[in-house]
């Protein structure tokens, strides 16, 4: 029966080619535009580490200028920590299962042989980083805790860099030169790209590549390797000591801090711990503002950082209205078309087709238009995403269509077509055959 209805639907569409292609085109454009913005929105607001996002917490301590406006929520507090606070927390015996202190830096990689040197971003952190964030290893593994204490010259490198420097082989035990120093490779990371890159999501960096080099933070500070991310200061540096020392013990914020907390009790205990830490620091004259500490799990943190921008939300809203216009357009065209089919329907009814049969037959036609519109929409969404990718830098990891989005596109299109066609189909199945047959 369905194949017969399908044949009828195609025949009917061929009879009104202009109207039919207009409907498919309108639906396709609407679906294409909406799926483009929705895909961007969906991927931006995605959970970068679903199995652990509720146990990983970003830490904020309010060490800022007493003269700046009062703090009401996590959004009002600097998203980064001073180096000294991070170091103190790393050294302390806190209720957290694990903690990781980190910052973003960089160096020039000087390959052996004649290959030209090149610049790479580096994440300086602790051994705990890899286990906390479930970083997958291809060869070797994280450095051990002693390397953090001993400020060892060890490095974990990414697959891409390993391909470039060592032709993709197991490079564990080999050395890489960063600026003037040699670091021993202890592990090679497999492809790893949390999207958004939640652990350092400030400014426009939320969709940036993960670093290809990781070194112990203690070693990086020793060097010193300067921070490449955003550095924010409110108090003048102490001029009685060398600049680097003054910077490290300053109130400047430029490091990120994460804690792994597995139970609600642990969360509460950790929060208490932070509050007490700040109280202690107040004793020695730091933290002049009222006590404010915040911990946010991964998804809360992405909200605090405003990873999904207002522009993306505006685009999503407007493209939804665009889809509504396309559906309205289709309803109008379907209504016109189906009311014009009165004669044919009357004939089918007179030959014994029930109202239900007429209804479902026409619904199949509407559904066919929906499927065609959906397929066109997928093609247009693919083009749309390519356009978005070329318009924004740093969206490379973001824009791809997965099976779920493809299914959603066709589903949405059929739903839109059926919603658009329900009334016209119902109208046409209610027509009285007798009156229409007479005028033939």
């Amino acid at each position: 029966m369905l194949s017969y209805y399908l044949a009828l639907a195609l025949a009917s569409m061929r009879r009104t080619p202009v109207l039919s292609s207009l409907m498919v085109l309108a639906l396709g454009l609407g679906i294409g535009a909406f799926m483009t913005t929705f895909t961007v929105y969906y991927l931006m607001s995605g959970d970068p580490i679903p199995h652990k996002s509720d146990v990983l917490f970003a830490v904020q301590l309010d060490n800022w200028d007493p003269n700046s406006p009062p703090t009401e929520s996590a959004e009002d507090v600097q998203p980064q920590l001073t180096w000294q606070d991070g170091l103190n927390l790393m050294r302390a015996d806190t209720p957290a299962t694990r903690q990781a202190h980190m910052y973003s830096t960089g160096a020039i990689v000087v390959p052996e042989g004649d290959e030209p040197p090149f610049d790479e971003n580096i994440r300086a952190t602790y051994q705990t980083f890899f286990e906390m964030f479930d970083v997958p290893f291809l060869h070797g593994g994280a450095w051990d805790g002693r390397a953090d204490e001993e400020r060892a010259s060890v490095a974990v490198i990414g697959r891409e860099l390993n391909d470039k420097l060592f032709g993709g082989g197991d490079s564990v035990g080999k050395s890489i030169r960063l600026d003037d120093n040699y670091f021993k490779v202890v592990g090679v990371i497999d492809d790893w790209q949390p999207t958004p890159r939640f652990y350092h999501s400030d400014w426009s960096r939320a969709f940036a590549d993960t670093a290809q080099i990781f070194v112990p933070m203690t070693r990086a500070i020793d060097e010193p390797m300067g921070p490449r991310g955003n550095t924010n200061c409110w108090a003048p540096l102490d001029e009685s000591v060398p600049v680097i020392e003054a910077f490290l013990k300053s109130e400047c914020v430029w490091t990120q801090f994460w804690a792994e907390l597995e139970t609600p009790e642990q969360v509460a205990a950790y929060k208490d711990y932070l509050d007490n830490y700040v109280r202690d620091q107040k004793e020695v004259g730091r933290f002049p503002r009222p006590l404010n500490t915040f911990i946010s799990d991964v998804n809360e943190w992405l909200d605090v950082m405003g990873v999904v921008g207002n522009d993306n939300r505006v685009q999503l809203r407007l493209s939804f209205l665009f889809l509504v216009v396309c559906v309205l357009n289709t309803v109008g065209l379907l209504l016109a078309k189906f009311l014009g089919k009165g004669g044919e329907v009357a004939l089918r009814r007179a030959m014994g087709a029930s109202r239900g049969a007429v209804f479902s037959q026409n619904l199949v036609e509407v559904g066919t238009i929906g499927v065609l519109g959906g397929l066109l929409g997928i093609g247009l969404a693919w083009l749309g995403l390519r356009a978005v990718e070329s318009l924004y830098r740093g969206y490379q990891h973001l824009v791809h269509l997965d099976v779920m989005m493809l299914t959603a596109a066709v589903g949405l299109s059929v739903a839109a077509a059926v919603a658009a066609g329900l009334y016209p189909v119902w109208r046409v199945s209610r027509l009285q055959p007798a009156g229409l047959l007479k005028t033939q």
């Binding site: 610049d119 003048p236 665009f322 109008g332």
Partner: protein, 405 residues
């Protein structure tokens, strides 16, 4: 024009069809006015002058990685070479580039008593005496830096210059009475690090074009040696920029103890900085174009269909003496009525949508004149779209009335 009544009454017989088009037009008006407003706003932002000679300026960004090299000497050699390239007007070492998104924010205090919530925030640029020339700044008063006023900022030492040159906007913010020239400002609270304002230039934007105080900038005479980052800004004679970029890169790349991170025209930097705005402009323009096309084609489709449906009536009217023009006019008037209903609903829709977007995403309020502009555009769109089916209707021969009844 006494056929308004009959046309309107005919319209009422197909209320749903007419209402659907009207709604479509209403939504189109709402979306188009808001999208056009966003485009206008972003285009204004991008068009703001940064103060530099944008078409003729290039950025050279290098990183030194061999700690045995004398950074000060290397900078002197680089600048000598860059300044002597054919086609170069001026070259300057600088620690960050205006509007590049990465820069140095600083506060000046006008009195020793001032607290940090009263101090004036601005974007600071560390240059030498070639800064004014390279950045194409016009001095409104005062003098340039002198070579002996240069200071050094590195991880070992952090010298404070005694002089500064500020933008007109920063001068006005610091000293609203307009007498900033020659005054002393303090780089830190409690009267620490005094500097004399020795000059005022017309205009330059800071590193963050979306900040509130984008026009507040200042220059200080300093070399920045933090790590190996070394940046130069070069202004070329008109038409010489690309040649200067190529020659400059070739020179800088010869030294193997550093790498050239990028050589970029200022225009390219501007495109990168504003990529979000440019993307928004492109996407909103696409929305407007395609939406107008969908709505227009929808009108064509429906009118086409209605002409087919009414072939006999049209033939009869023609037989009864209606001219071709009458028939065309019928469809145009019908479309005008539907469009007008849509526009009335659409104005409410546009205002509501703007209110929503402004409250939720702070897009700003659409100026009122966007509404009449949108209305006229939609009337035109409707009339144009209906023209083709209307002409087809007019070509129906009167003889049709006598056939097959």
């Amino acid at each position: 024009m006494n056929d308004f009544g009959p046309i309107f009454r005919t319209l009422l017989r197909n209320k749903l069809g007419a209402l659907l088009i009207a709604l479509q037009i209403a939504l189109t008006l709402a979306v188009v006015t808001n999208a056009a407003y966003i485009i206008g706003q972003r285009a204004d932002d991008v068009a703001r002058p940064s103060g530099l000679d944008e078409a003729n300026t290039a950025i050279f960004h290098t990183t030194l990685f061999d700690s045995n090299v004398d950074q000060q000497q290397l900078r002197r050699d680089d600048l000598d070479a860059l300044r002597n390239l054919p086609g170069v007007v001026a070259a300057v070492p600088i620690q960050s580039v205006p509007i590049s998104g990465s820069g140095w924010g600083e506060d000046y205090y006008t009195t020793p008593e001032m607290t940090s919530d009263e101090s004036i925030n601005f974007g600071m640029f560390m240059v030498d005496e070639h800064g004014l020339d390279t950045l194409d700044l016009e001095m409104l008063g005062g003098r340039n830096f002198r070579p002996e006023e240069m200071t050094l900022r590195s991880l070992e030492s952090f010298e404070s210059p005694r002089v500064t040159i500020v933008s007109q906007a920063l001068a006005d913010a610091l000293f609203p009475d307009g007498d900033a020239l020659g005054k002393t400002v303090y780089d830190e609270p409690n009267g620490e690090k005094p500097m004399e304002i020795i000059g005022i230039y017309d205009h330059m934007q800071n590193a963050w074009p979306h900040s509130d105080n984008v026009n507040r900038t200042a220059l200080i005479p300093a070399y920045a040696n933090f790590g190996g980052q070394m940046m130069y800004l070069v202004r070329a004679e008109p038409g010489q920029r690309d040649a200067v970029m190529a020659a400059g890169e070739a020179y800088l790349a010869k030294n193997r103890s550093r790498i050239v991170e990028h050589v970029r025209s200022y225009e390219e930097q501007k495109r990168r900085t504003y990529d979000g705005d440019i993307a928004m402009i492109t996407l909103m323009s696409a929305v407007i174009t395609v939406l107008a096309a969908v709505t227009g084609l929808g009108i064509v489709g429906l009118a086409w269909f209605s002409v087919t449906q009414r072939r006999k009536q049209i033939g009869t009217r023609r037989a009864l003496g209606a001219t071709r023009l009458d028939i065309v006019r019928y469809f145009m008037v019908e479309n005008w009525m539907i469009t007008s209903i849509g526009i009335v609903i659409g104005i409410v829709g546009a205002v509501t949508l703007n209110w929503f977007l402004d409250t939720e995403y702070s897009t700003g309020r659409v100026p009122l004149w966007y509404l009449p502009a949108g209305m006229v555009a939609l009337w035109l769109l409707g009339q144009l779209a209906v023209l083709l089916p209307a002409r087809r209707a007019a070509s129906i021969p009167p003889a049709l009335a006598t056939r097959s009844v």
